[in-house]
Subunit: 465 residues, 2 copies
């Protein structure tokens, strides 16, 4: 049995390890195009911000397992190997070894595509200009770090999604003047309903970020091959460092070349066992669609935990086991300066778009007992289906770990729990941790009423006001 | 309709407010023996430690609603009123007004006993000695504060339960030398399994508390009516402040006088609607037994959230509504110095005692991604039923809000979830909040194996080692 894994980060390495654990005899090979495997890409902004252990600027702390450690487990890892083609009928791939410059053919019995995503680049960012970066992998991070050490002072970040927001914090904390350009009217547009996006935007401004929403980037200004600014419809913004964070796209070239079917989202379509439509070819991680358990739809939601989990599922199945990926409920969390943001399930906007009859309540309260000095504001939106009372989602904006409460809602979404179930829960109370009625319970009490009374749950414009 | 509520703290005031909301016409009277109503007794240690807002030593910050505010809601509140007897046949109570010194009879249609608990006092603490305190209510807190301001330097705390542990922190942070005497071999005996109790004990010692376990108190040393020390079997310990925190007892005198049945635990026996066996008499809050949803047994677990919830249920039912108390799953949380501790469901010891075939796994990991500077140790024990895989409980020792993860397990216990359900959950991941596989998921993965393989989950002696 010969297992070939293309891509050695989250899904790929999880698959290889699981396959090895379930089948001590299979020959397992991982082909990775870069110099790095098995690292936590989500940690890249935190190496830049100096939030990580180890030496300043050491991206190696993000590596969970080295090629040598994988080798010790009996997994062959080949770095700097590009897989350039697949012959699904012959069950071979074409591999280009960048060190030797040679191309060879590798046979497989089972092939896993774990090619992940790549950063989208608008036309104006297509050229290779010094000082212009995306932040997807360790070399990207190292290139940004090098520019910082070269003395970059003014950064422009294009795009206000998770990465853009996190990098805005990183670079501000490194002492740069940061301008964030977002083409939409608000940042965090895919994660939150409008009032909660406003809280995030306000957080950026309070931290000194020059946030410009509704801004289109037209091009770059350069001098001697290095960026000096960004041209917008409102004029130029000077910059010696530009981060392009306008989203990611599934890296499906290889899948398409192999005849693997993509879903409507543009990501690879797989079943719950991570099998593609092509015999002997599996896919896992950010390159794949996943089932959203709340809507039952197939969506592209590239996030770390799901990628690792899909990898494990594929690894078990490729050596003859039977594992299934349970899908996601759309949980995400991020920090931006002194604020933490989390969400799970559907926003009101997403529920509306999915054709659900949804209602939301908003609560602005405190994370700990109100009389405690260390209590901070915690804004919660809870969304449920009118009538049935089924919970649909939650959004949180607060401080520190307080927003990890999102996991309670994620747990309820897994079991298709109702608002009433939440309202009855015996949640932990002591003054340093919550009010006697935790914000989740208060919100559930109100939402229960809204669900029954058919009240409109339309948001007040600013939950923090 | 005349509603009489005896006791004006958590359950009593919740009941009065709910009754008022559901019946605008009922005559609602609250009789409270002390000068205070509607306060968060759990906050008492934090006024002492100066963790609360407002002026130093101001216990008023703990008050949620004043008698005047209740009056505005149409609820009569009588302070300094002792209810000394009940005639259940005549539906009257005998009330002693301490201000006037007069005793009168009050009629009722529905009577709620919300008399709470009182601090247990061993024989040696029965005498009224200056400098010897319990900490149950605001006057207790004020008396301790007065002793602190009088210049107390050496405190002895007797008892290592929640209150004793919290007060050890409060007094240490006020600059006192604190000795904690515990008759058992470890502190936190009712909350945690042995290895986790050790972590709590170590925390006390690291913080400079002189912790002496296995210590019996024989009596007090006094001079001129003021305490000067505590006599133990190992000799005397000098002290100018002694806190007796050896547990609480349900205040059932009135209930017994009225012919109300108590349960095996010694607390008042009620049904899910908070009805006692005596027609027209209800009970709610810490004076009652509750149903433990994991064991389905009736237990006495006096905790703030359940007290408030029972009060609401009783309030609705006393005015003709139909509400039910869903029971508890045994969730509790506390802070002791720089460590946070939480538990829900059953410990392994409790599961064994309940005759369940339980297995536990222990995990010592980090609350945030391991490469983050702000990651702290997080020790987790997860317990499940062998074979069925039903989750039975969890214990956490960590830092800050990280242990609020206990609420995810509490949510699962409510739905009688299995280990497998937890393992599949889409929990929130970003490096400042967790590892990609949150400790809950890692623990669930291991416990799933233990449950299937029938491994023994007997604890390693020190999870923190």
């Amino acid at each position: 049995m010969r297992i070939l894994v293309v891509g050695g980060v989250a899904a790929g390495m999880s698959a290889a390890s699981r396959a090895r654990r379930h089948d001590p005899h299979a020959r397992i090979t991982v082909l990775e195009r870069s110099d790095w495997i098995s690292y936590g890409a989500c940690g890249l902004p935190y190496v830049l911000s100096r939030d990580t252990r180890g030496d300043p600027g050491d991206f190696g702390v993000l590596v969970a397992r080295t090629p040598e450690q994988m080798q010790d487990q009996g997994i062959d890892v080949h770095l700097r190997h590009d897989v350039t083609g697949v012959d699904a009928a012959a069950r071979t791939v074409r591999v280009h070894d960048r060190d030797t410059g040679r191309t060879r053919t590798e046979p497989y019995d089972q092939l896993l595509l774990a090619t992940g995503v790549h950063a989208a680049r608008p036309d104006w960012a297509a050229r290779d200009v010094a000082g212009v970066h995306v932040l997807r992998d360790i070399p990207d991070g190292q290139a940004i770090e090098a520019d910082l050490q070269r003395g970059a002072r003014r950064a422009v970040i294009v795009g206000g999604g998770y990465i853009g927001l996190e990098v805005a914090e990183s670079l501000t904390r490194r002492g740069l003047h940061v301008t964030l350009l977002e083409h939409a009217g608000q940042v965090a547009g895919r994660a939150l309903d409008p009032a909660y996006r406003d809280l995030v935007g306000q957080t950026l401004r309070d931290a000194g970020v020059d946030l410009r929403t509704g801004t289109q980037v037209r091009g770059l200004h350069t001098r001697a091959g290095r960026v000096t600014g960004v041209e917008t419809q409102d004029g130029p913004v000077s910059a010696d460092l530009v981060i392009v964070a306008v989203g990611v796209r599934p890296s499906t070239d290889l899948a398409r070349a192999a005849g693997v079917r993509l879903g409507r989202s543009g990501a690879v379509s797989v079943d719950a066992r991570q099998r593609t439509n092509v015999d002997g070819i599996w896919a896992a991680g950010d390159v794949c669609e996943v089932t959203h358990r709340v809507t039952r739809r197939r969506v592209h939601l590239p996030l770390g935990l799901a990628a690792n989990r899909m990898g494990r599922v594929a690894g078990v199945n490729m050596v003859g086991g039977d594992a299934r990926f349970p899908g996601v409920v759309g949980t995400a969390i991020f920090r931006v300066f002194d604020r933490s943001v989390a969400r799970t399930g559907l926003t009101q906007d997403e529920a509306d778009a999915a054709g659900l009859d949804a209602v939301s309540v908003d609560l602005s309260s405190r994370d700990h007992a109100g009389y405690m000095r260390d209590a901070h504001d915690l804004h919660v939106r809870l969304t449920a289906e009118r009538g049935s009372g089924r919970l649909l989602g939650a959004q949180f904006v607060g401080v520190g770990d307080a927003v990890k409460r999102v996991d309670v809602i994620a747990a309820l979404l897994h079991s298709r729990g109702r608002v009433h179930d939440l309202a009855e829960m015996d949640l932990a109370y002591a003054p340093p941790f919550s009010s006697v009625w935790d914000v989740l319970l208060v919100a559930a009490g109100r939402l229960g009423k809204a669900v029954r009374e058919g009240q409109t749950g339309r948001p007040p414009p600013h939950p923090g006001a």
